[in-house]
């Protein structure tokens, strides 16, 4: 059960942004490209310097070490990065319960990262991010390179994770129909703040 609260957040000359996501709630976020959606997510994950406060339940970001914060507030970037040759090394040899719902068998751990398609990378990156059992998810276009069946699988998985754990989810999407499907509330990002969005 975790609520994410953003107060007067300013980053890279943008903002102030204020935002509240209740526990177990998913909020969709859209906006013109270049509006700063990714920058906003980076600031919430404390990857960029910023002013203002971000809070998970009653814990302000600044009160716990940054690595711990990022394990709780997980940012899934639009383009995932992989540093080892084999997929399994990125999961530190641990069992991952999200592989099957995303359409992978256990043998995927032995696959070479260099031979993954962009869609496979995107789904595996989600599974990898969930391994930290985050209490808040910041998803940056998590289905951009997926086909319809896999889009549905990802949406189902995130919805299931959200209801099981009460995690707060902020979902950036370019697709109005997807924003409508996944979000209980919808926001539109401008350089100076949010507007209500009606996809």
């Amino acid at each position: 059960m975790s609520r994410l609260q953003v107060n007067e957040l300013r980053t890279h000359g943008r903002g102030p942004y204020s935002l509240y996501i209740a526990d177990g709630e998913c909020v969709s976020l859209r906006g013109p490209s270049g509006a700063g959606k990714s920058l906003l997510l980076r600031a919430i994950a404390d990857l960029d310097p910023h002013q203002g406060q971000v809070q998970l339940d009653d814990t302000p970001c600044t009160q716990i070490p940054a690595p711990q914060w990022r394990r709780r507030v997980s940012l899934l970037p639009a383009e995932s990065q992989w540093w080892a040759d084999e997929v399994g090394a990125h999961f530190a040899g641990r069992e991952c319960p999200w592989l099957r719902p995303l359409g992978f068998g256990p043998e995927v751990m032995g696959w070479q990262v260099s031979r993954l398609s962009s869609g496979e990378k995107q789904r595996l990156a989600l599974a990898r991010a969930l391994m930290n059992r985050p209490q808040a998810l910041l998803l940056d276009e998590p289905t951009a390179s997926l086909d319809a069946a896999n889009v549905a699988a990802v949406e189902r998985l995130v919805a299931g994770y959200r209801t099981d754990t009460g995690a707060a989810v902020l979902w950036v999407s370019h697709d109005a129909a997807q924003a409508e499907r996944v979000g209980a509330r919808h926001l539109w990002l401008t350089a100076t703040g949010f507007e209500e969005d009606r996809p």
């Binding site: 994950a45 404390d46 990857l47 960029d48 310097p49 070490p65 940054a66 690595p67 711990q68 990022r70 394990r71 997980s74 940012l75 899934l76 970037p77 383009e79 995932s80 990065q81 992989w82 540093w83 990898r128 991010a129 930290n132």
Partner: protein
């Protein structure tokens, strides 16, 4: 010992001139650089010869300290000049220079006091060449390692940040890159030690033998110097990389590439 006359050196200079002429003929565009570098060698070494002569005549800690400082600053400038992406502000110069100071001076003093045991311990005949050897090699190692670290961190910033997003500390996020940088800084001296005597006769030993020292004495000094250089380079590179890797992040474990300048000539 056979001393060299000005005529002997002029004959050797003719070889360089011939090479410059060839390069000019083949339009390699190297002749200018080659001649300037050769002229610099003559002037700088002659000056150093005079300085050393004066220094040997007036043994005083202050004089040794002064010349050591000049050597350190010149090496620090050289390390900075070889960086594609150097740290902004005083860090660009201070980081490499500080690391060289710590390792080279510590090892030089330790060696002079405990191993060589000249009287006084700062006897310039031993102190200046030893420090010069240490500084020159540590400088190479640090310049290579720092350049590798900052260039790789720049190229792989997305990977570093991905690891941070997954909850890695700044130390965990850069550790692979730092290991690679350490390897490239240490490779020259490891190679030099591996092939010493087989492929190449080290310059210092060659010089001593040419100047008339018994070969075994020259070899013993060369072994000492090799060990000191590898220790000096290793500690210097470790210190520089530790400082640089720390500098690349802030206290919230964010990758801060704004601590680096963009490369020149781009």
């Amino acid at each position: 010992m056979i001393t060299l006359s000005a005529l002997d050196l002029s004959l050797a200079a003719c070889l360089v001139l011939a090479l410059a002429a060839l390069s000019w003929r083949m339009r390699l565009g190297l002749s200018g650089q080659l001649l300037v570098a050769a002229a610099r060698t003559v002037v700088q070494l002659l000056l150093v010869g005079l300085v050393l002569k004066a220094l040997f005549a007036h043994v005083h800690l202050l004089w040794i300290g002064g010349i050591s400082l000049v050597m350190l600053l010149a090496a620090g400038r050289e390390v900075m000049a070889r960086q594609q992406r150097r740290f902004t502000g005083g860090w660009g110069f201070g980081l490499g220079t500080g690391a060289m100071f710590v390792s080279s001076f510590a090892i030089a003093i330790l060696t002079l006091v405990t191993i060589i045991g000249a009287d006084p311990w700062y006897e310039p005949q031993y102190a200046v060449p030893l420090l010069g050897m240490l500084l020159g090699n540590t400088m190479n190692g640090i310049a290579l390692a720092l350049d590798r670290l900052t260039a790789t961190a720049w190229q792989q910033r997305a990977v570093i940040e991905q690891r941070l997003m997954l909850g890695a500390t700044r130390h965990e996020a850069i550790t692979d890159i730092r290991r690679e940088a350490m390897r490239s800084g240490m490779m020259p001296i490891i190679n030099a030690m591996s092939v010493a005597g087989l492929v190449s006769l080290p310059g210092m030993m060659t010089g001593q033998i040419l100047a008339g020292s018994p070969p075994v004495e020259a070899v013993k000094y060369q072994i000492l110097i090799m060990f000191l250089i590898s220790a000096g380079t290793g500690f210097g590179v470790t210190t520089a990389l530790w400082l640089a890797a720390k500098r690349l992040f802030d206290e919230r474990h964010r990758l801060r590439l704004d601590t680096l300048n963009s490369p020149r000539n781009y």
